[in-house]
């Protein structure tokens, strides 16, 4: 009698769950943290989809892609959210993603025609400094290298901004990238494994500048009322990071996945981004950007290597970086 | 009866052969030069030293394959006969149950054994808090409770003074006689052997001889024993 009841109970529970369709979205950890966009996005989407949105978090963008590659076609993911344009080349090559089929109007500094991935936010890498301590920030890599200004950077092998800087120098300097790294070597205090360590050390005064985003000062202005942080505008331009999402070809909920991607570019998602992810939304929400968020780097000062090109130069750029900095 | 049937012990170049029998209830001294293998012989009987060849029998039953705790014997070492973190009563109680799961009547027996060895007042003390003689008595009390028919004493009282040692040996002999135990006692001191053991096993030259009357052996020692005794 009792086993039967339990079995019946389980069946009922399974049916109850089956009635609410589930959308599984793989993303990076900080997206789903209490201070990230995740909680608000989940509430807003579930209110309109009549579904259960489940986030699965895996480290950062690179760890996310690694997990996906480990799982292959058997992955539970319906949507992957949080890859960037330095990873989309490799992600596309897995053959796991399906075309999104959308042609939305985007507020991006570059044109967008990727059939597999849709952007949800973007930002430019920049060196952030404290204007009360550094009166005369450098205006270019060359000026930085010529100065005795100290910087904290991240390791491209373990960190997204670190890889971004690698691409930034490559895009700005091309064949002279190796020489630029050699010139920068004596400005670099240390290379940290992730963004958090470097940014934390910068706030403790360990270096004059830290590699971060042009939108970083906005956090201090808006959340802390602190006007002292700014970024150094570089004459050669700033490298663009675009964060994207894509639908898995093997998803068992294709309509929900499509609905989520469409929702991702609506206000319910986009309005949350500036003050949680501290990036520029891919579609500026109806209410505009928050007061004090600042203006983005103009399109003409945007440096960007498309995914195929980024993938092609990556290994050589890493070797240049390593040779120049390995003392 | 304890029988060592063509036993051979080999350890790192050391060899000892024994082919002897000890009748039930006998009190036997084991003497011989230092390093001749007295402790090794007891260790082999107790199951701590592997036997290369031969059989060890108790009442005709081969006990060579039994674990030390399962053999029909109790052994007292030169030292470390008590656990320092347990009280004397607990140490003695281990003789009744190796897991100290004692019933009311077990506890009464422990109290009785402690009384018999004059330790009633010290039951709650730990070994570090009592004298060497008292530690020896506690070990004897445990021996008493274990009720194994064969006792192997590897000079457990060597560290005690002559008077105290004599007292211990007497106590031991008394309890052995009461319980009908067979005792093998290693000794350095011929006086101990004379006092305690009517018969003696001589261990010398790689051999453990069959027991002989102690008085006769000491009166007319073979050369190896004579050298050892300084005669």
């Amino acid at each position: 009698m009792r086993p039967f009841l339990i079995a019946a109970g389980l069946t009922l529970a399974t049916q109850a769950m089956a009635q609410t369709p589930v959308l599984t979205v793989y993303t990076y950890d900080s997206f789903v943290s209490d201070w990230g966009p995740g909680p608000a996005v989940e509430a807003a989407f579930e209110a309109e989809c009549g579904c259960d949105l489940r986030f699965v978090a895996a480290g950062d963008g690179a760890a996310l892609l690694a997990r996906l590659e480990l799982e292959g076609a058997t992955t539970d993911a319906d949507v992957v959210l949080g890859l960037d344009t330095n990873l989309t080349g490799r992600a596309a090559a897995t053959g796991l993603f399906a075309p999104h089929g959308l042609t939305p109007a985007l507020d991006l500094p570059i044109g967008w025609d990727d059939p597999l991935f849709l952007p949800f936010d973007w930002g430019h890498f920049a060196f952030v400094y404290d204007s009360t301590k550094l009166a005369d920030p450098p205006g270019s890599f060359a000026a930085l290298a010529a100065s005795d200004i100290s910087i904290l950077i991240q390791d491209p092998r373990s960190s997204t901004p670190g890889l971004g800087l690698l691409m930034w120098v490559k895009a700005a300097e091309g064949a002279d990238a190796a020489a630029m790294w050699e010139a920068l070597a004596d400005n670099i205090v240390t290379v940290t494994p992730g963004w958090s360590e470097a940014y934390g050390m910068f706030l403790e005064g360990e270096a004059d500048m830290v590699l971060s985003y042009t939108s970083s000062p906005a956090y201090h202005r808006i959340a802390e009322g602190d006007d002292t942080k700014a970024y150094a505008a570089f004459a050669e331009g700033h490298y663009l990071q675009v964060e994207v999402a894509g639908k898995l070809a093997a998803t068992d909920a294709p309509e929900l996945a499509d609905a989520f991607l469409a929702f991702m570019l609506s206000d319910g998602f986009q309005a949350v981004i500036p003050e949680t992810n501290w990036m520029f939304p891919a579609v500026t929400p109806a209410g505009g950007l928050p007061e004090g968020f600042g203006d983005p780097v103009p399109a003409e000062r945007t440096l960007y290597l498309p995914p195929e090109e980024a993938a092609a130069v990556r290994d050589a750029a890493l070797a240049e970086w390593r040779d120049a900095l390995a003392r | 009866m304890l029988e060592l049937d063509a036993v051979r012990i080999e350890q790192d170049g050391f060899r000892l052969a024994a082919d002897l029998a000890v009748p039930r209830g006998a009190l036997v001294a084991v003497i011989g030069p230092s390093g001749a293998g007295k402790s090794t012989l007891l260790g082999a009987i107790a199951g701590f030293v592997p036997v290369a060849d031969g059989r060890i029998l108790w009442d005709g039953r081969d006990i060579g394959a039994l674990a030390p705790g399962a053999r029909p014997l109790s052994i007292l070492f030169q030292d470390q006969n008590l656990f320092p973190h347990l009280t004397l009563a607990e140490n003695v109680g281990l003789g009744l149950h190796p897991g100290l799961r004692l019933t009311g009547s077990d506890r009464a027996q422990v109290a009785e054994a402690l009384a018999r060895t004059g330790l009633s007042a010290l039951a709650g003390r730990r070994p570090g808090q009592v004298s060497g003689g008292e530690q020896g008595r506690a070990a004897l009390a445990r021996l008493l409770l274990r009720r194994r028919p064969l006792w192997l004493l590897d000079e457990p009282f060597a560290a005690l003074g002559p008077a105290l040692k004599a007292e211990m040996l007497d106590l031991c002999a008394g309890i052995a006689a009461e319980t009908g135990a067979t005792v093998l006692m290693v000794s350095h001191d011929p006086a101990d052997a004379r006092r305690f053991a009517p018969e003696t096993i001589l261990v010398a030259g790689g051999r453990a001889e069959p027991p002989r009357p102690t008085a006769a052996l000491l009166a007319d020692p073979p050369p190896a024993l004579a050298d050892y005794l300084g005669q």
Binding site: Y26, D29, S30, V32, S33, D34, G36, G38, F55, V56, A57, A58, G59, A62, A63, A66, R67, L70, R90, D155, R157, S158, I188, V189, T190, V191, T192, P193, S196, E197, Y199, G200, M201, L203, E206, Y219, A223, W321, R322, L325, A326, R327 | G47, F48, A67, P68, G69, F77, F83, P84, L86, L94, P98, G99, L100, R101, R126, P127, G128, R146
Partner: protein
């Protein structure tokens, strides 16, 4: 003899199998998935050289410097000694990121030390580079070495010191006849443990290494996995790491298999003789310097974080509770693995390096590769998010095993040597032996081991990042999340909370050990 060893070997065998499942099996799973292992290239050999060099340097310095500190703590009795012994353990038990930020606050470019130097008109010093890596490793591991060596000192029965005193032995003779043999038995194990910790160093090497010149094997594994997604290379590098570890275990294990100091009767009273004024001065200096070196960075962490503790969001407190529960579970598991292995190693004296090598395995294999391998192995069995917590507990327990094992081994050896035959002769076996003999006799190192295991488990190692259970974050993960969300002040508060909980757990478990330490 064979009988009793049977149950023990069964338990030790089960523990060994458990360790294998958490280390070598995942490694094999990654290699299998990769379809083979590429041969290491010249760059890999350079990484290997740096890894070895910094680990040798760090272990030698940490173990060497720990001797005077441990001796001073063994000799001196003063108010607050117990507190200092506990606090000295703190750096080792801290999450690396917290420790590194504390170090930077003292020794960094803008740190107190350089502020002091420039105030005196002296040139400032940069920590970044090999020096920084070694400084950080000494900071993190000096406490472990001190504790292991202090345990060695305390394991010399007071009877021996009394005997030495009665023989009119001076400090030089005591050193030669009592302390040198003890050190010879204890030091290889302490050195080895630190060497292995430094071998798999990751965050310290990256933050304080100053750049890619300070690339350790673990960093290279990270690169292979994340940057190149070359599982074969990651597995090959991890295998290299494991081979290094096993070689070190064999060498150090041979050096360490010496007899212990023998049994005493647990008498209270005279311990290590105190010596004269000169010795007193040396000891005061050793304790003072070690305390300043180890506690200043911690003080920096506390000063910057304490004001933010009260205002921490509820999610952080919830994570703290979760981490506590996981730490307790991991502690039980770690002891269940360590005790049978230590007893088996003690019993198999001389031939015991096999058990020792197994106990050291968790330090030898790359956390990154273990995490990946476990993910590959387990994802077919249950949804990874469901497994995140149990796997974290198991992996943390395994990571604590080498330290628990090493803390237990000397005492297990002494136990076997002194009371093994007595217990055997009384037929004490199985649980009764555990309850009446093993647990009470090993109370001190067991408490210490439990403390270390609990503290380890509080500092999440991120091995399970791939499993991703977003709704049940641990405290260290919340700390990272706060940092990642620009909330550095709240993160500093969480760091203080984490430190307090870690030390609290360690203190509670270790109390048994400190009762007569």
């Amino acid at each position: 003899m064979a009988r009793r060893a049977g149950t023990l070997n069964l338990a030790a065998g089960a523990a060994a199998a458990g360790v294998g499942l958490l280390t070598l099996v995942p490694l094999a799973a990654v290699a299998w998935r990769a379809g083979g292992l590429p041969a290491p290239g010249p760059a890999d050999w350079a990484v290997l050289r740096f890894t070895l060099w910094q680990a040798v340097l760090s272990a030698t310095l940490s173990a060497g410097l720990a001797v005077p500190v441990a001796r001073a703590l063994a000799r001196r009795r003063f108010a607050g000694r117990g507190l200092i012994i506990t606090l000295l353990g703190a750096p080792f038990l801290l999450p690396v990121i917290v420790a590194v930020l504390g170090l930077v606050a003292i020794f960094g470019r803008a740190g107190l030390m350089n502020a002091g130097l420039s105030a005196l008109g002296l040139p400032t010093v940069s920590v970044y580079g090999l020096g920084g890596v070694v400084l950080a490793h000494v900071f993190l591991n000096l406490p472990l070495a001190t504790r292991l060596i202090l345990q060695g000192w305390l394991s010399i029965p007071s009877e021996r010191f009394r005997l030495a005193e009665s023989l009119g032995m001076g400090p030089a003779e005591v050193r030669r006849f009592l302390e040198a043999p003890m050190l010879a038995a204890v030091m290889p194990g302490a050195w080895l443990a630190i060497f292995l910790v430094c071998l798999t160093s990751f965050a310290v090497a990256l933050v304080l290494g100053g750049g890619p010149g300070a690339t350790t094997l673990e960093v290279a594994i990270y690169q292979a996995f994340r940057f190149e997604f070359d599982l074969g290379r990651a597995a090959a590098l991890a295998l290299m790491q494991a081979a290094l570890c096993l070689a070190a275990v064999t060498v150090a294990g041979r050096a360490a298999s010496r007899p212990g100091p023998g049994a005493g009767l647990d008498r209270a009273g005279a311990r290590v003789p105190a010596g004269g004024i000169w010795r007193r001065a040396v000891d005061t200096l050793a304790i003072g310097l070690a305390t300043a070196f180890l506690l200043a960075p911690l003080a920096a962490v506390v000063v910057s974080g304490l004001p933010n503790v009260a205002g921490l969001p509820p999610a952080v407190w919830a994570a703290a509770g979760r981490s506590l529960a996981m730490a307790l579970a991991a502690t039980g598991l770690a002891l269940a693995l360590a005790l049978p292995l230590a007893l088996a190693a003690a019993r198999a004296e001389g031939r015991g390096t096999g058990w020792g090598a197994i106990a050291m395995l968790p330090l030898a294999v790359s956390p990154m590769v273990v995490g990946t391998g476990l993910f590959l192995l387990l994802r077919g069995l249950a949804p990874p998010a469901v497994l995140a917590l149990p796997v974290t507990v198991a992996v943390n327990a395994a990571m604590a095993l080498p330290f628990a094992f090493h803390a237990l081994l000397p005492a297990a050896r002494a136990l076997t040597a002194d009371y093994g035959r007595l217990a055997d002769s009384l037929g004490m076996a199985g649980l009764a032996r555990l309850r009446l003999l093993t647990l009470p006799r090993l109370r001190r190192p067991l408490g210490f081991s439990a403390g270390i295991a609990a503290a380890f488990a509080m500092g999440d190692l991120g091995v399970v990042a791939l499993f991703g259970d977003p709704d049940r974050a641990t405290l260290p993960l919340q700390l990272y999340r706060l940092m990642g969300a620009y909330r550095m002040e709240a993160a500093a508060g969480a760091a203080v909370l984490l430190m307090a909980l870690t030390l609290g757990l360690f203190w509670i478990f270790d109390r048994g050990g400190r009762a007569d330490a």
